[in-house]
Amino acid sequence: MQLLPCGPDALLVELGSLREVDAVRAGLARAALPEVAELVPAARTVLVAVRPGAGLDGVRAALEGIDPADDAPERSGRTVTLPVRYDGPDLDLVAETAGCSVDDVITTHSQPVYTVAFNGFVPGFGYLTGLAPELQQPRLERPRERVPAGAVGIAGEFTGAYPRPSPGGWRLVGSTDAELFDPRRELPALLHPGDQVRIQVLE
């Protein structure tokens, strides 16, 4: 765990893996420090920002009490079921790259219980980890100018769904009707860091 300076009111915690990111994010969330204004996980880092002038001593002390190797971080307790229709335009490409059939891709993609590692890109876009190794594939060589809302894709170690139409380079395997982001809902994002996600296959 390395602490990098990030202006007067924040620290960037650099870690070795997504698992460590999850442990630190969960540990800081559990500490519930009143001065923390933002707690933002990403692929190898966690940003902790405090209210201006509140000081970072409390954050540093809390980090000392967190073991990034703790492999059973407290989950948010939420499990979200995502209904997915496997009708993506890149199914054949994904199957060919994985060296299996399209049916195998559907089985392999729909079986794991995924974890929301972090959100980013656009509001409500969750980066889900737990993807089977054979589905960990590169982005498209030429990104699409417009990916429709609800498209389910894979890229590198992640899978995820596009909350709204946007450009995108992920290989698309399916689609969901789930409302991934609604700013007027009390919980605007369907997927929060730490949530578990199961896929329900729609025919």
Partner: protein, 305 residues
């Protein structure tokens, strides 16, 4: 642009006769949602918006307007009080000159015209009762990156107003925002200054020019491109969270200072972060103006407020 509040009090609204180059509904934004991918957004100079609201008799965080280079014409549907803050700007009510940085009374039907500021870029307009469009994630601010909040104002729009719940507050002298050119911007090095060769010296030594392509997402700088340190040449940085004020150096080596509508994560190294108290001045940096970065090591802590 309508809301239930508008139909309940049909005369409490303003008509946008002319929107000018860019006029946005704004307030104090959506802090605290970065982990959901939501930018902070909100007024680029929160202090100026708070001041405008106090002058107009509103709570400080009430939704008002952020206006780029004037050109705005509003017609009051009901008697109301408006206040304009930011750099000194010329305003007219029904053709008669009126003061910025003071409460301005408008009778029902009166037209306020806001000219471009003589220096700088942006002014803030508060209207008694505030702009009562629906909030999204607790804010009515337009976020140009994520699309949250109402669309930028267009000629012919109608903005619903809330009910005033305070009295306009006059003051003998309210000083307009000063605009410096060159602008000196203090930054703290890190988190990724090591990725750029001799980052502190290069940041400080270059006379940067504010680029034409700057906007609320980021202030883009032109100058001597900053090369990668040898150890990081060609290295890929996994996307990491970024803050408002982050000075990011993308592949072309020219820094971008992230402003309120910035993406919450970025895949290029952030070499320094602007001190929060220096951010409002960035809202006034005109394209073509000069900007100096003044880096300090992160350990040289400024006195706590």
């Amino acid at each position: 642009m309508t809301s239930p509040a508008a139909s309940a009090t049909p005369s409490r609204r303003v008509a946008v006769l002319r929107a000018g180059p860019q006029a946005l509904v704004t307030d104090l934004g959506r802090p605290g949602y970065a982990h959901l991918g939501v930018p902070p957004s909100g007024a680029l100079d929160p202090g100026a918006l708070r001041l405008a609201n106090r002058l107009a008799g509103n709570p400080e965080g009430t939704a008002g307007l952020e206006v780029l280079l004037g050109g705005l014409e509003l017609r009051a549907g009901a008697a109301c009080t408006m206040a304009v803050t930011g750099p000194a700007a010329v305003l007219h009510v029904d053709g008669a000159a009126a003061d910025s940085h003071a409460p301005v009374h408008l009778d029902a039907g009166a037209v306020l015209r806001l000219g471009a500021p003589t220096q700088g870029l942006r002014n803030w307009v508060a209207i008694s009762g505030g702009i009562a469009v629906d909030a999204e994630l607790g804010s009515r601010a337009t976020d140009l990156l994520s699309g949250l909040g109402p669309a930028p104002l267009r000629d012919g729009d109608t903005l619903p107003l809330g009910l005033p719940d305070g009295l306009p507050v006059g003051a003998d002298v309210v000083v307009p925002t000063a605009v410096d050119d060159p602008l000196t911007v203090p930054v703290l090095l890190g988190p990724r200054d090591g990725w750029i060769e001799d980052a502190a010296r290069r940041l400080a030594a270059t006379s940067w020019t504010v680029s034409e392509s700057s906007n609320r997402v980021g202030l883009r700088l032109e100058g001597e491109p900053m090369p990668r340190a040898a150890a990081f040449e060609g290295a890929e940085l996994p996307s990491e969270p970024v803050l408002t004020g982050a000075v990011q150096v993308p592949a072309n080596g020219l820094p971008v200072i992230f402003l309120a509508d910035h993406p919450v994560t970025g895949g290029y190294p952030v070499v320094a972060v602007v001190l929060p108290e220096a951010l409002p001045a960035l809202a006034q940096a005109r394209p073509g103006s000069a900007l100096r970065l003044q880096p300090a090591a992160a350990t040289a802590r400024r006195p706590r407020r």
